[in-house]
């Protein structure tokens, strides 16, 4: 009896939200540090974080190349794996946008999965969006004094409205100052398979982006999508720039003790 009274709703603490972290394939393969940064930030925000091992990719390569059937199969897998979490969070506007905006569209003719896709869509967030708006106030790491410029990745910006959230979070870190670039909202030329299918056009776009970044004189360029960041980093490295490239999660979590994606260590 006594035990039952102790565990009554009025005395028990509110259960920590269970968050499923969708790491994304690019982070898994190329930059695990971003995954660990995201994990740590979510834990600091008081979440109970799980990282399902049955995750691979969100299906965008198939979807954006017209292969709807494979896209649908991969989407079903993601929907099933993440069905039971309070929230699904991804350190990528592109993958979160795919889950939120495009999964429901894939199941126009499948009532069961349409419902499931909608349910997942309503609980899926990009990392900075989640930390700034949904999670409890997250403890952020300190930074040595340096300046950054921010690239707004297209899917996050236009599908999810992510613009102020990362900047709001970064503004809370003492020592960091921002130097906005010209046309931060213009595509860097990555575009998934676009960058290898149309390398000449993509090369011009990323060269323009790298020029805009260097013109700011900032020490670092940050962004929320590893695809864009690898594209930008590749270009900056090609022109021997010292601007260091990090995912925003790495800076927020203070995990900049590893070499940047490109550039010199801050």
């Amino acid at each position: 009896m006594a035990e039952r009274t102790d565990s009554s709703p009025t005395t028990s603490p509110i259960r920590a939200p269970r968050v499923g972290l969708f790491v994304t394939c690019l982070v898994d393969l190329f930059r695990p540090n971003v995954g660990f940064a995201a994990l740590e930030l979510l834990q600091r925000a008081g979440c109970d974080v799980e990282i399902p091992s049955q995750q691979t990719c969100c299906g965008q390569p198939a979807y954006n190349n017209g292969d709807t059937r494979d896209a649908r199969d991969i989407a079903k897998q993601v929907i099933d794996v993440f069905a039971d979490y309070d929230y699904t969070v991804a350190p990528s506007g592109s993958c979160a946008g795919m889950i939120k905006e495009h999964y429901p569209r894939l199941f126009d003719a499948d009532a069961e999965y349409y419902e499931k896709a909608l349910a997942l869509s309503s609980r899926c967030f990009e990392l900075t969006e989640f930390l700034d708006g949904v999670a409890d106030r997250v403890a952020l790491s300190e930074s040595p004094s340096c300046s950054y410029t921010y690239h707004d990745s297209c899917s996050g910006l236009r599908e999810l409205g992510i613009k102020q959230q990362p900047r709001t979070l970064l503004a809370r870190i003492a020592g960091l100052s921002v130097r906005e670039m010209q046309d931060s909202n213009v595509c860097c030329g990555f575009g998934g398979t676009f960058c290898v299918k149309y390398p000449d056009i993509s090369g011009r776009m990323v060269a323009d982006k790298a020029d805009a970044i260097r013109a700011t004189g900032a020490d670092m360029v940050l962004g929320g999508d590893l695809g864009c960041l690898m594209n930008i980093a590749g270009r900056l490295k090609r022109v021997d720039s010292t601007v260091s490239v990090y995912h925003v999660a790495e800076v927020l979590a203070g995990k900049t003790d590893v070499p940047p994606i490109a550039g010199s260590r801050s």
Binding site: C57, N65, C187
Partner: protein, 471 residues
């Protein structure tokens, strides 16, 4: 014009190397974007107008047969003649026949994208008529024997120096023997030459930005007034337009006029808005004796019934071109047909064939800026993705892409196999020099203009699981 959209890759490469073109593109882009932004920021109800316009177009498209018949009846009631053209060939024949019946020698033309779409000029010339473009941009590219590279600024790819040389070469036969290089003198020289064409033309052909079903009117906006001179001075006026241009009423028209100028050039209104309703009446001071409207389908009624219907909302403002980073890099000619940029990448495959224009829907990063600025909120990225789906279904996607995609999808659907396969691959990539990374499929496309950032060496999943086991 004949499509060369299949040459997209080669043409875009050439465009990137073309210094004069790159200068012209860089200069034009900033102006269009800034002017549009200023105009829209000064109009708080822009978003409301946009929503209203979208609603009007959706309604009109849902009842297009009704409004077209109403338009036809009104044109006839005002003494005009209406001609239906299923495709370019029919449209050309109708226009040539009208010119023949009028006993014409000289034909002036206002800017008409439908005219470009059906290639009216070559048909007129082949039939023995002299066709003269009167929009300054169109006139310039007619002299240069080039197609338009932008739907509202056809000669945007030309630098001023190129225009100077072009005029010098062509205007000697008009007795003009010196080079002019400042804008005002260039415009004045064109005006002098064109003035004679205006007063001696037998037939004038214009396009139409909108058609009004209520009154049977054709509406044309210009900044040079050449539309008025083309329509009212010759004895015969022909309007070439396409079926989706119709709007129900003049009230509706007002909504669209407020959106068009702002989206296109950042003007509150274009300098001239001309409304043509039938031939000259007895009490009119001027106007043509004959008034014809040629209405073109060319695949549009098919779009009405398929997943591309929303594309028919397009009002040809050019905002999507001006804000597209791909268009901004390569210009309009690389697209290989009359329409370019995002709207062209949707329309061209639907009008000249998906196989011919297979590159166009793919040469896009799906960044979404086009839809963001589209006054009709057309989901251009979705349209492009749907064309990619058609290409995939019809096996028009390249064999190598399909093969790589299917391997990726096979692995992505099998998480355990995926993780086992990726672990060694990532390790190899990390230790391998630049040389090893070059063996990645499609890697040359990447390394041509950028390095390949080294992966950290182990996958997140393997690191995380190892960490979990330790705890």
């Amino acid at each position: 014009m004949q499509s060369v959209a299949h040459e997209f890759k080669a043409r875009s490469r050439r465009a990137l190397q073309d210094t004069a073109l790159q200068q012209a593109l860089a200069r034009a882009k900033g102006g269009f974007i800034d002017h549009r932004r200023t105009a829209i920021e000064a109009l708080p109800e822009f978003d409301e107008l946009r929503a209203r316009a979208k609603q009007i177009k959706n309604h009109t498209l849902a009842h297009l047969d009704y409004y077209l018949e109403r338009f036809e009846a009104q044109v006839k009631a005002h003494g005009g003649q209406l001609h239906w053209a299923r495709g370019p060939e029919e449209a050309r024949r109708i226009v040539v026949d009208i010119c023949r019946a009028a006993g014409a020698k000289r034909v002036t033309k206002g800017k008409s994208m439908v005219g470009e779409e059906v290639a009216i000029n070559p048909a007129l010339e082949a039939a023995g008529f002299e066709a003269i473009e009167t929009d300054l941009g169109e006139y310039i590219i007619q002299l240069a024997k080039e197609p338009p590279s932008h739907i509202i600024a056809p000669a945007v790819h030309k630098t001023r120096a190129e225009i100077t040389e072009l005029f010098y070469a062509h205007h000697r036969r008009h007795g003009i023997n010196k080079r002019v290089s400042d804008v005002a003198s260039i415009v004045n020289e064109a005006r002098t030459v064109l003035r004679e064409a205006f007063v001696t033309a037998d037939v004038g052909i214009t396009g139409a930005n909108f058609l009004v079903a209520q009154t049977g009117s054709s509406v044309l906006v210009t900044n040079e007034g050449n539309g008025d001179l083309t329509s009212s001075l010759p004895r015969v006026h022909i309007v070439t337009a396409s079926i989706e241009k119709v709007l129900p009423t003049l009230e509706d028209l007002a909504v669209f006029l407020r959106l068009l100028g702002r989206s296109a050039t950042g003007q509150e209104m274009s300098s001239y808005t001309s409304i043509f309703t039938g031939p000259k009446r007895d009490a009119d001071l001027d106007g043509p004796a004959e008034f014809h409207v040629v209405l073109l389908d060319h695949g549009r009624s098919a779009m009405l019934g398929n997943e591309f219907r929303e594309m028919l909302r397009c009002i040809r403002c050019g905002a999507c071109l001006n804000h597209c980073p791909v268009y901004g890099s390569i210009g309009g000619h690389a697209y290989g047909w009359v329409y370019s940029g995002p709207m062209g990448a949707v329309l061209t495959p639907l009008m000249v064939g998906l196989r011919e224009a297979a590159d166009l829907p793919n040469a896009c990063t799906l960044n979404g800026r086009c839809q963001e600025v589209c006054p009709m909120d057309i989901p251009l990225p979705t349209m492009l993705r749907r064309l990619r789906m058609r290409e995939f279904e019809q096996k028009l996607t390249g064999a190598r892409s399909r093969w790589l995609l299917s391997i990726w999808a096979f692995l992505a659907k099998r998480p355990r196999v995926y993780q086992m396969a990726m672990r060694p691959l990532v390790g190899l990539l990390a230790i391998g020099s630049r040389g090893a990374r070059r063996f990645l499929p499609l890697a040359r496309g990447w390394t041509q203009s950028r390095d390949f950032p080294a992966p950290q060496g182990r996958t997140f999943q393997s690191l995380y699981r190892a960490q979990q086991r330790k705890q």
